[in-house]
């Protein structure tokens, strides 16, 4: 499906929004020095003076009692007490005759017995600290220095810039979603239908009609076309023997469903930054299990239930209709998210998460089923890509927005907001999805154990699914969903920042995936891409384990995003290559379904493995451990692909089932 109109509009609007935001950013940053700083700095200086005069009063009292200033005992403690009570103050120093007599605070402010901040900074640099000087009684040479971090202004401003940056990205993606919805469903899709009808008419099929009910310009056009056809047909007096004009109206619904799916995914992604931290807060000791294992359990159980209920919900949606299963799943998720927000202990949370998992599995499989129903095989890949794009967009927007929301209103309220989104998605689906059961519902067979056995007997399938796809999901869940949010929260990183870090992964997935797909197709080096992607993912884990909180986290997450972007397309292409026989025996959908199911096992074992490592080796050790597992999987995959060369039918005739 070409979206040239939408694409043009999108680029235009996105461009305008981006330029406006960048201009406002530039203006704001520029104004920091001229507007913000002059407002803030006197406030900081006043604060410094209040803190300082309190200390001065105490020293003056001692002097008034007859003690000599330079012989006072415990002035350092006095200063550090004052410092502890005033986190904004970076240092306090008692200076007598140019020499430091007592000091408390950051070592950057002094060198030896001299206060360095009193020196003029190098040309062009603003001083690091705002130094306020107060005189002391009884000694003309004595001064109390109070230092406030002048970077406070700068870091507050940086925070604003980063927030605006996140908002910019989210705005661009939201832009795309809304444009897709509005233009796609009320302009592009109807126009396409009109075009198709006209083409049919041109071929002599005058019985076709556009039959759109839109109450807008496009609707007018369609009615005009229908009238024209009516009159032509009347004149020609041809009886209606028309080819079925199926599927075109459905495409409009796919576009609308994408928005519902986007909203629904957003519900889950909002809680991404803090879920593991939230679980930790509700933690209660379980005999015989370490804390880390217990924290991993709800995430693992969630993934397991998701994996298990997906095929069940899939076959149910074929029998009961996509709409019913979608709505049921969305309501289940709603209940689960509300429950998660209200849970008072770990058991309640686990139950709520299980409900949510079943809900998600149902919604996604039902939506995917609908997309398949609604499209021709030719359009299907594009339609699924579009539908999956909604999920990816939510992956970017969710953590970024969720982090900000959680930071403002807390974890529990964010869950309730998520629940509201799930409900909203249900409402949209209620409007979009057809009430009737898809008449042409193909009775595609569900997944069976025998199918799995058939696939798993193919060592190249095993190499691909178990040692490439599983580790990818394992890495994503263990690193990004479990360990990283916990580790960053532990280091005192704000929820907003955790959100921005996670956003980077999805952003890179979106940007790099198409490029990687093109490259791997052109080069044909699929195994090369898989090995490189696997190694980069292992390297990402290693980078994440390095000390230095935010910088390495950003680098590691970016690497992981690139790695997984490199894996997606080659994996599917490889699957087609290695499973020629299985595809023939079971059908393509079943093989892909099997592949996805096995892949999900990676998400299931990830929290347990990560929890186990975490309990024994701490954060750095656990991240390294996951990296080692990922690297080992690459090695096994290489080994398998070396042992079992392509063209399995020729090489392995004995393994082919009858």
């Amino acid at each position: 499906m070409k979206l040239s109109f939408i694409r043009r509009l999108n680029w235009m609007l996105t461009g305008v929004v981006s330029v406006l935001m960048l201009v406002s950013l530039a203006v704001q940053t520029n104004h920091v020095n001229t507007l913000f700083r002059p407002l803030i700095e006197p406030e900081l200086a006043r604060k410094a003076e209040v803190v300082g005069s309190y200390v001065v009063a105490q020293i003056d009292r001692a002097v008034a009692l007859g003690f000599e200033l330079d012989k006072l005992v415990g002035v350092d403690e006095l200063l550090s007490d004052a410092l502890a009570a005033n986190p904004d103050v970076k240092y306090l120093a008692l200076e007598i005759g140019g020499r430091l007599h007592a000091f408390s605070g950051t070592e950057e402010a002094r060198s030896g017995t001299r206060l360095t901040v009193a020196d003029a900074p190098p040309d062009g640099e603003s001083p690091q600290f705002l130094d306020t000087v107060l005189p002391l009684e009884g000694n003309d040479e004595a001064r109390l220095h109070v230092g406030v971090d002048s970077g406070y202004v700068r870091s507050a401003m940086n925070e604003v810039v980063f927030d605006l940056g996140s908002v910019l990205i989210v705005a661009i993606l939201l832009n795309i979603e809304i444009l897709l919805l509005v233009v796609g469903s009320s302009v592009a899709a109807p126009l396409r239908r009109v075009t198709a009808v006209m083409k049919q008419a041109a071929d002599g099929h005058l019985g076709v009609r556009v039959a759109l009910r839109n109450r807008d310009e496009v609707g007018e056009l369609s009615r005009a076309v229908d009238w024209a056809l009516d009159s032509v047909q009347h004149k020609a007096d041809m009886s209606a023997s028309e080819p079925a004009m199926t599927k075109i109206g459905m495409m409009q619904r796919v576009v609308e469903l994408r928005f519902a799916i986007f909203i629904f995914s957003l519900a889950e992604e909002l809680t991404r930054t803090f879920l593991s931290v939230y679980i930790k807060q509700l933690f209660e000791p379980v005999p015989g299990l370490s804390m880390e294992m217990v924290i991993g359990a709800p995430i693992a159980l969630f993934m397991l239930l998701w994996a298990v209920s997906q095929p069940i919900a899939g076959s149910m949606s074929e029998r009961r209709g996509r709409r019913a299963v979608f709505l049921g799943g969305a309501l289940l998720s709603f209940v689960g998210l509300v429950g998660s927000g209200l849970a008072t202990d770990l058991i309640q949370l686990v139950v709520a998460r299980c409900l949510t998992a079943i809900g998600y599995a149902s919604v996604f499989i039902a939506a995917q089923g609908f997309v398949i129903d609604a499209t021709d095989p030719k359009q299907r890949a594009q339609a699924i890509a579009m539908y999956a794009g909604g999920i990816l967009s939510a992956g970017v927007c969710g953590p970024a927005i969720g982090g900000v929301i959680a930071g403002q209103v807390g974890f529990r309220t964010t869950f309730l907001i998520s629940a509201g989104l799930a409900l909203l998605a249900a409402f949209m689906a209620w409007q979009v999805l057809p009430r009737v059961r898809a008449a042409q519902a193909k009775s595609s067979r569900g997944l069976r154990l025998a199918d799995a056995a058939l696939c798993l007997r193919n060592p190249r399938f095993v190499g691909l699914a178990v040692f490439s796809a599983v580790p990818a999901k394992l890495g994503l869940t263990a690193l990004l969903f479990f360990l990283l949010p916990l580790a960053l929260d532990d280091q005192g990183v704000s929820q907003s920042w955790i959100g921005r870090v996670l956003l980077l992964y999805w952003l890179l997935m979106i940007v790099v995936s198409p490029m990687a797909a093109k490259l791997s197709d052109r080069s044909g080096q699929r195994i090369g891409f898989l090995v490189a992607g696997g190694l980069v993912a292992a390297g990402a884990a290693w980078v994440l384990s390095m000390p230095g909180s935010l910088g390495t986290a950003l680098a590691g997450v970016a690497l992981l995003g690139v790695a997984h972007a490199m894996l997606g397309a080659p994996q599917l292409a490889m699957l087609a290559d290695v499973c020629v026989k299985e595809r023939a025996a079971l059908g393509e959908t079943t093989v892909i379904g099997m592949f996805r199911l096995i892949e999900r096992l990676g998400s299931v074992i990830a929290p347990f493995l990560a929890g186990l490592f975490l309990a024994h080796y701490g954060y750095a050790g656990a991240l390294k451990g996951i990296g080692a597992v990922l690297a080992a999987c690459v090695a096994v995959q290489l080994l398998l692909s070396a042992l079992f060369r392509p063209r399995p039918p020729a090489d392995l005739p004995q393994r082919t089932p009858a």
């Binding site: 020293i59 001692a62 003690f67 012989k71 006072l72 415990g74 403690e77 006095l78 009570a85």
Partner: protein, 350 residues
């Protein structure tokens, strides 16, 4: 903005706080409903037995009773020597007081005897007694237990818990060795020094035992104080500790202060008067006036029948004042740490 004072001494001491004073301000509405009422025609008769009339306890007690609204007469009798009590008792008993107040451990013991050896012929047993500034009424066997005295004898203590005293001393300097100068003939001092040694051991501080020697008749020799302090200085002690000791702290504080200064030793005292009178460095004390007010509260509770006389617990004020004598600090060239200086009540040289 507030500089935390809590960090210094776990809230145990605060300069110049008057706990009992706040009690006095509120008035006592419950008195109106009590069975035993005292009117101006027939006021309650309170007899106070004290070694000296001018001690803070007596002032605080009188002040509290006057402000409580209770109709009462307070008769203060000076009894310098506890050994005079047996001869005084018949006269006191005959005057039929409604309540007797005793000041300090020796007079209290001489008045009420031990709880496990009550002899009506030698001690006052038929009148409720409130004592004040008794160091350790349980160790001295004045009462069975602090929260349940077991007879109509109750009162107030005036010494900070030994752990708090030790913490205060160590906040001034990290002393390694302190000398306890005390009279071993006073039971409460034997207990106090034992407790001090236990706490010091916990804190890694050594205690030099400087008990007064006794003469041939067993009487403690106050004249040996200069020699004891000289010995302590030679043994490496850095601070002289004096407890609630009548002979050493009350009667010879000037000698202790003078000798300690001469040997450049710091001094710490757990009672108020010696620091106010002599050139001692510091003390952690319940101001005697407050302790007296607290005893006054207990007396009023008994006289109005608000509580049964045998059901009132023996209590310590839970706030203490840190007294610092600036002159001594300068003479010793031992400046107090700023944190202590901030919370201390400064005692200036006269």
């Amino acid at each position: 903005m507030s500089l935390s004072r809590r960090t210094v001494l776990t809230g145990a001491l605060t300069a110049g706080t008057l706990t009992a004073g706040t009690l006095a301000a509120g008035g006592f509405p419950a008195f109106a409903q009590t069975a035993r009422t005292f009117t101006s025609a027939k006021p309650a008769r309170i007899v106070v037995l004290t070694p000296r009339k001018d001690v803070g306890d007596v002032l605080g007690l009188r002040d509290f009773i006057a402000s409580s609204g209770l109709s009462a007469t307070v008769e203060v009798r000076e009894v310098p020597q506890a050994s005079a009590m047996p001869t005084l008792l018949p006269e006191i008993r005959a005057s039929k007081p409604d309540l007797v107040v005793t000041v300090f451990t020796p007079l209290t013991l001489a008045t009420v005897g031990r709880y496990d050896d009550p002899d009506p012929s030698r001690f006052l047993t038929d009148v409720p007694v409130v004592f004040t500034s008794v160091t350790d009424p349980v160790a001295s066997r004045v009462v069975r237990a602090l929260d349940r005295p077991g007879r109509a004898v109750t009162g107030t203590r005036h010494i900070a818990p030994v752990a708090v005293q030790m913490k205060t001393m160590l906040s001034y300097r990290r002393w390694k060795k302190i000398a306890a100068v005390y009279n071993p003939a006073e039971d409460n001092m034997v207990v106090a020094v034992r407790d001090l040694k236990e706490e010091a051991a916990r804190q890694g501080v050594e205690v030099h035992d400087a008990a007064l020697p006794r003469d041939a008749s067993g009487a403690p020799q106050a004249a040996a104080i200069p020699d004891l302090i000289a010995d302590a200085a030679r043994a490496g002690a850095e601070l002289v500790y004096i407890g609630p000791d009548t002979l050493v702290a009350s009667n010879n504080n000037a000698v202790v202060a003078e000798q300690a200064l001469a040997h450049r030793l710091a001094t710490f005292c757990s009672t108020e008067l010696p620091i106010r009178r002599a050139n001692l460095l510091m003390g952690l004390v319940s101001p005697a006036v407050n302790v007296g007010r607290f005893a006054g509260l207990k007396a009023v509770e008994i006289l109005t029948g608000a509580k049964p006389a045998d059901g009132i617990p023996v209590e310590t004020l839970n706030r203490f004042s840190l007294l610092l004598r600036i002159g001594a600090a300068k003479q010793l060239d031992l400046y107090p740490p700023m944190r202590l200086l901030n919370i201390a009540e400064i005692v200036q040289d006269a």
